[in-house]
């Protein structure tokens, strides 16, 4: 595994004022906007990170290939690339492939090769209902068996751009000012437990789910083992990876509504459960019984995104900060309010949500097709 490390931190900072930074922005009308504001905002929290990881997730990114799965893959060996590309050719129709455009910059040194592929799955898995699972298996296969190949993202009309560097440097490297999307999330990393390498930067992603995270998941071990039982394999050496897979499992596979998923990841305290009305209490108890192994222990503030939704959530005693701001059709999340104010000084509303209570931002007029059983399961949360 020694090839995984691409550390380019030569700062030797004597001053560590730590904590990661997270920032997210969504246009609830679905209008796409350039990343310049988000890049400026995350750069304003430069001092929260230390240059050992930065990244972005963008939705509504590839309108020309909307219906195709867009794979962003990092290669640490040319041998692995050859193997992976022949695997992709056997299991998908590769409609288009190219290197992810980048520019030489002074700050990003020794970057790995990062390619993108637009893949059609229809001939290989004609059943639409099974296509996501087919793709998920392919991602896990590449991550676990193809030497030095890592899928950074593999959803439709979205992608993750990440690497070792400050987020604004990563944005410059990947020419992100040239892209538009209706949801952007971003992250500046201050690694606490694991080495900095390109795969360990945030966002973490599977299919079109992405997660950026400030904090640390001390339940990583038990979460990882639980997820392995469902075919998710952690290969990125960073705790946050389990959240991306947990969200895919809970929301896509188990079809839990967001509000219920939030209660799985950040369950209410037992004494709060005792005071709940009967129906709500039964649900909370059932969730703790069924999903105890996927509860997240430890401090976190996370932004979870997929098409149509952006969700902000902190641990139930909010050991990491999260601010929310609204202005017309825009909703912003940030580790620090000043970063929001920098790009949108006159907010209609700004607040800090209570710990464990998700803030859910949805596309307007979009009605998610919830089957009746799911409506039934929705809690009477605030």
């Amino acid at each position: 595994m020694d090839n995984l490390r691409h550390i380019n931190n030569s700062f030797n900072d004597d001053k560590v004022i730590d904590a990661c930074s997270i920032f997210g922005a969504m246009n609830t009308s679905g209008k796409r906007f350039p990343g310049t504001g988000v890049i400026k905002a995350i750069a304003n929290m430069h001092d929260r990170g230390n240059g050992l990881g930065g990244g972005f997730a963008v939705y509504g990114l590839y309108p020309d290939y909307k219906e195709l799965y867009a794979f962003h893959i990092m290669y640490l060996s040319s041998e692995g690339r050859k193997e992976t590309e022949s695997y992709l050719g056997e299991n998908f129709d590769i409609v288009h492939m190219e290197e992810v455009p980048n520019r030489k910059t002074a700050k990003i040194t020794n970057p790995p090769v990062i390619m993108r592929y637009f893949l059609d799955v229809c001939k290989h898995q004609p059943d639409i209902a099974l296509q996501d699972d087919y793709v998920l298996q392919a991602i896990m296969h590449i991550n676990t068996t193809r030497k030095g190949s890592f899928v950074f993202s593999g959803g439709k009309d979205m992608a993750v751009f990440k690497g070792v560097g400050y987020p604004e440097e990563i944005a410059e490297f990947f020419c992100l000012e040239q892209y538009e999307g209706y949801i952007w999330t971003s992250h500046g990393r201050f690694p606490t437990n694991t080495q900095a390498w390109w795969g360990g930067a945030h966002p973490f992603s599977v299919l079109d789910w992405t997660v950026v995270h400030n904090g640390e998941i001390s339940s990583y071990g038990i979460n990882k083992r639980y997820l392995e039982g469902y075919g998710y394999h952690c290969t990125m050496q960073t705790d946050t990876e389990v959240i991306a897979y947990a969200v895919d499992l809970l929301m896509r596979k188990h079809k839990l509504p967001i509000e219920v998923m939030a209660k799985v990841l950040a369950p209410p305290f037992w004494n709060d459960i005792e005071r709940m009305p009967d129906k709500e209490r039964k649900l909370a108890l059932a969730l703790r019984q069924v999903y105890g192994s996927i509860m997240l222990n430890g401090p976190f503030a996370i932004l979870v995104a997929h098409h149509g939704e952006l969700i902000g959530l902190t641990d139930r005693i909010r050991l990491r900060p999260l601010s929310v701001g609204e202005k017309d059709n825009m909703v912003y999340f940030s580790s620090e309010e000043s970063a929001i104010r920098l790009i949108s000084p006159k907010l209609d509303k700004s607040w800090t949500p209570m710990g464990g209570e998700p803030v859910i931002v949805r596309l307007k007029q979009e009605s998610r097709q919830l089957p009746d059983t799911r409506e039934e399961a929705v809690t009477s949360g605030r």
């Binding site: 304003n44 001092d47 005071r275 909010r318 900060p321 620090e336 000043s338 700004s350 800090t352 710990g355």
Partner: protein
């Protein structure tokens, strides 16, 4: 260079790094400047840290974390919202926020006064302390989130809840968890389950009323509220039931 007492030194802080800004403030104050106005502040940390003269600093924008940390004398007025750690370990001076403040407001404060027009985040007043005449004060116009007054060892916190609608409860739980000194005056009431187990509830006595009236009057002067509209509701006093809750844990 010595500055006139009445002139205001104005700094446009757009794009200025926090270290450079704080260095400039130290230099200005060393040279005798009394009034400073900072505009376009956006996330710069530690503003006012280690300044030790009773100067006025007016801030327009959103100051960064730990504003006023370790400060000893200045009066900082923010026309906007403050972030986390405002007033961290301050010793003397005042912070007046015409908006809301983030988490751990007033943490470990050992003197001085903080007035917030709106609400605060988690763990406001955590481990404030007092010694003889040094008694920090934190007055919150809105509500606090969980763990307000956590491990409080001294000082006075006032929670006014002015944003609560009729019959609406304070959102905070675990109020005063680990509290072993100081006092919280809370307008309206809370349920038992919202309090840490180290906290007792009492009626205010004469001395409490006197202190509270003064603090509310000062709050009203800053934020243009009528005293009657605030004092028209009942207050309760939250106090630590034990001054040394774990005194016998390790030595007996």
């Amino acid at each position: 260079m010595t500055a006139d007492n009445n002139t205001t030194f104005k700094i446009d802080a757009s794009g200025i790094y926090y270290r450079d800004l704080n260095e400039k403030l130290r230099e200005l104050i060393a040279n005798g400047t009394h009034n400073i106005e900072l505009i376009n502040i956006c996330g710069q940390r530690y503003i006012g840290t280690d300044l030790d003269k009773p100067v006025n600093i007016d801030i327009y924008g959103t100051p960064g974390n730990d504003m006023g940390a370790f400060m000893n004398g200045p009066v900082i007025t923010v026309y906007g919202n403050a972030q986390d750690g405002c007033g961290n370990t301050m010793n003397e001076g005042k912070i007046i926020i015409h908006g809301h403040a983030g988490d751990i407001t007033g943490l470990s404060a050992r003197g001085g006064k903080i007035f917030i027009k709106e609400g605060v985040g988690y763990r406001a007043g955590i481990h404030m302390k007092e010694y003889k005449e040094k008694k920090p004060v934190l007055v919150i116009g809105g509500t606090a989130q969980d763990f307000a007054g956590e491990y409080m060892a001294g000082g006075i916190m006032v929670l006014l809840g002015l944003n609560l609608r009729e019959g609406e409860k304070y959102p905070a739980k675990f109020i005063g968890t680990g509290m072993h000194g100081g006092v919280i005056y809370l307008r309206g009431g809370v349920e038992d389950y919202q309090l840490g187990k180290e906290v007792g509830i009492a009626e205010l006595d004469e001395k409490d009323r006197e202190i509270l009236n003064q603090l509310v009057a000062e709050f009203c002067a800053y934020f243009s509220y009528g005293i009657e509209t605030i004092m028209n509701r009942n207050f309760i006093k939250l106090y630590p039931r034990y001054l040394r809750p774990y005194g016998r844990l390790y030595a007996y």
